[in-house]
């Protein structure tokens, strides 16, 4: 092409750009910059989001413990001296509390730490309210140890835990009724002696939720089981139903009104807000069918209905990817249409179907809104389900619902738990997605 530009003055040359071209090139550069900027901003958001989660959530996996020897006083725990489990069970945690406080005081004095506290009870602010039941459980499990001195690793109170993690400062303690600056002095001293230390907090991963006032004790384990039972329901229902529906629509459905109606419904359901599925679950499963409220079974049913469109859409895509020649060959050697689908097309499409199902399950695992309506929030998941049937039918929470529950509580110590819960939830999602990707890499066939 020749350089016959529409410039009024013919002064431009190949070596010197005229102002118009310069403007156009600048506009080009700007445009490209906007694109880079947009991508940078979104990646920055991602980085900030992940960074925030990790920074705020990792402390939840650490917990402050107080290691002290406690004398299991026979006078207090077993007045009759007969070690009868029924008698021992009658002694409540109120008896254990003062005993532990005294043990702590004795420990403090023996280490030569000066405190302004006069009574042992004043020391209890640095111990978790859970410490008493911790010791009680130990005694009930092993009554033979009564009368001896046993070293316990007791939970510190959430304020002390926060102090060690930097969440609670001396400024904030001034406005706090449950702990004083003197307690923090004591904590510093005990920490120097190695009595108070931070350690890995397994009970956060495996433990049960706790009441509002004991964030140091709360764990996500029970909610994890709730999520697990829900996912079992979702998998057991959505995979067969989704595959059957896709096979019908992709392989057998002729073009008629009824099949069009199904297609329209599926594409619309895929875009219905998840909260509407919660309303459906509440009205149909709980109000109408009287299924138990807060049960993982109901949660699983609702999430099944929600993930079905996703699974159907991806299953149909993988069925469509199987070339027609496979079907023709099967029909050619005398298979029926049904046999060609079930013996040949379906096995070939299986990797794609499984990938889609795993991604659908991951979506269901992170979904919260419908669970709020069927009562899986506000329920304190403090007990492990006793068996398989109870796992499906008894009230439980689920991981995202548990995180929401923690985020709503007033004590900032629970925010740390919520972030920690998110780390666990994201680990599960990541694992599922990685499995899906690996499956696709390994088994995907291109014809």
């Amino acid at each position: 092409m020749t350089e016959t530009s529409a410039q009024p003055e013919g002064k431009s040359s190949l070596y010197r750009l005229d102002p118009r071209t310069r403007n156009r090139n600048a506009a080009e550069k700007r445009f490209r910059l906007y694109g880079i900027l947009a991508i940078t901003v979104s990646l920055l958001f991602l980085a900030v989001l992940l960074g925030t989660i990790i920074r705020n959530g990792l402390p939840a996996f650490q917990q402050t413990f107080i290691t002290i020897p406690v004398l299991l006083d026979e006078e207090k725990l077993d007045k009759n001296g007969n070690r009868d489990p029924a008698d021992l069970a009658k002694v409540t945690t109120f008896k254990y509390g003062p005993m532990i406080d005294e043990a702590l005081e004795a420990n403090v004095t023996s280490l030569g730490i000066e405190t302004p506290f006069k009574k042992a009870k004043e020391l209890s602010a640095i111990l978790s309210a859970n410490a008493a039941s911790q010791v009680r459980d130990f005694v009930l499990a092993d009554p033979g140890r009564i009368g001896t001195t046993v070293e316990f690793r007791l939970l510190a109170s959430s304020r002390v835990d926060g102090y060690l993690k930097g969440r609670v400062t001396r400024d904030s303690v001034a406005r706090d009724k449950s702990i004083d600056a003197e307690h923090l002095d004591l904590v510093d001293a005990l920490r120097a002696e190695g009595v108070i230390s931070k350690g890995f907090n397994l009970s956060f991963v495996t433990g049960a939720d706790a009441s509002e006032s004991r964030p140091e004790q709360a764990g996500i384990g029970v909610a994890m089981l709730g999520s697990f039972f829900m996912m079992l329901v979702v998998l057991a229902l959505s995979l067969p139903i989704g595959v059957a529906a896709s096979i019908y629509l992709e392989e057998f459905a002729s073009k008629n009104r009824f099949n069009d109606l199904i297609e329209v419904n599926i594409s619309n359901l895929a875009a219905v807000p998840s909260i509407v599925f919660g309303i459906l679950g509440l009205a149909v499963f709980i109000q109408f069918a009287h299924l138990p409220q807060s049960a993982p079974l109901v949660g699983g049913l609702v999430l099944t209905l929600m993930t079905l469109p996703t699974i159907i859409i991806s299953t149909r895509a993988s069925l469509k990817a199987v070339p027609p020649s496979i079907r023709d060959a099967a029909l050619g050697v005398g298979a029926s249409k049904m046999q060609s689908v079930f013996h040949h097309v379906l096995p070939l499409a299986m990797p794609g179907i499984l990938t889609g199902t795993i991604i659908g399950l991951a979506q269901a695992l992170g979904e919260t809104a419908p669970l709020l309506l069927i009562g899986m929030v506000g329920y304190i998941a403090s007990n492990y389900p006793a068996g398989i049937a109870e796992g499906f039918l008894n009230p439980n929470s689920a991981m995202p619902a548990q995180i929401y529950e923690w985020a709503k509580r007033a004590d900032p110590a629970y925010y740390e738990r919520a972030w920690g819960g998110i780390i666990i939830l994201l680990l599960f999602l990541m694992a599922m997605n990685i499995i899906a990707i690996l499956l696709r890499r390994k088994f995907e066939r291109r014809w």
């Binding site: 445009f31 490209r32 096979i247 599926i266 069918a289």
Partner: protein, 489 residues
Amino acid sequence: MSATWLLVLLIAISATGYGLGRARAMASAGGNARQLHSLPRYYGLNVLMTVLAPGLLVLLAWLLIQPMVAGNRAASLIPDSAFADRGALNLMMSDVRRIADGLDTAVGQGRLTDAESRNLDAGGDIRGLLGEAGVALGSDVNATVLAAAQRYRAVTSTGQLWMTIAVLAFALAGLAYSYLRTDKTLRARNLVERGLLSLLVAAASIAILTTLGIVLSLIFNTFEFFRLYPAWDFFTSLTWSPSFGGGSQLGILPLLWGTLYISLIALAVAVPIGLFAAIYLSEYATRRVRSIVKPLLEVLAGIPTIVYGLFALLTIGPLLVEIFGAGGLLGLGWMKGGTAVMTAGLVMGVMLIPFVSSLSDDIINAVPQAMRDGSYGLGATQSETVRQVVLPAALPGIVGAILLAASRAIGETMIVVLGAGAAAKLSVNPFEAMTTVTAKIVSQLTGDADFASPEALVAFALGMTLFVITLGLNIFALYIVRRYREQYE
């Protein structure tokens, strides 16, 4: 016989039927499978199918209908004077069911004999008794409720007897019918495949049933709500102040305003960023950059909304207060608390970026390369091509993508529940806390409110509104996308 055992029995009968059918077919062919019309297993499956299908259908129908019948019969024992309105009756009926179940449990645990359980006296400590059996009751049992519970148990136990008889009769009739028909000339495979096909159709119909369930449960409860609260006030009132004691004002307008305002901010964030990201990725980026950036953007889409909600509540909210709040960086004092329209909108915008970008990416890629080449041939730069050729060609698809994103934003729940606040307000200040339709659905339906009060039922009317708006947006978006597709193929 309980439903579980009945199911086990059904499976056992059908398994026997499989063996019988297969054996009979083989016998009729003189042991030579090549004489049969179908493979031997199809004869077995045919019998299995004719046992299971009627048996399961009867069982299912019975299980659905029986509680309703028993409930009605029991409710007819409660005099009209014993309850004030439908809600009170519902509460009483749930007590009746609990007591009936509890008595059955107690008998099952051997705490009571069957006769004792039938002759209980309302004056006795039934509550304590059931408590021991592991069924907690909210209040003491009065005579009416106990009588209703006994009627419920009676109807249920006769019902269960008849259910067992009916299910077994149907199953055995099916067994006999198909067993007698089994012969070497029977086209067993065709029968089995027809049965399988109806199973596939049933699975596909679940989509219709789900939609039907959604629509019915919304409509039914919405009408119930409009009987208690005037529809005109619901759609036009400017105040939202529910109080469970009565005298609430339930106007949807403040909620709709909050919803739209937050969605608008979210789209203002997501559309430019998502669109430019899509343009860059599809027109400029090298294959390598694309293969790294695209999955990273999709990570944003895979993060659950609860995470975004927490991010809004605990990170973005306080950050915005530090900038726009009183004594903040700018010293403006616009923002009072962390939860605000801006907080929720910004975070929701981030959530929608991958949604907008991946949809627009597909659409931009679908524009034929010939159009770009033509534009370059005329001397246009790349950005001029994008702006003047590619974008106009892709515009209907992009509008569709934006509408879909808007529908997602309107229906989003967790971010607004945690990030937007709870006060329903009509204000133009984006730094003020407002609330949305979805957030109010959650707050009106969680807790132990009974479903008969207008304050709880309003959630269904809100859900209906939400459903209609998002459905309308989706259909409109699909309509636009479909028209666009016809232009180039």
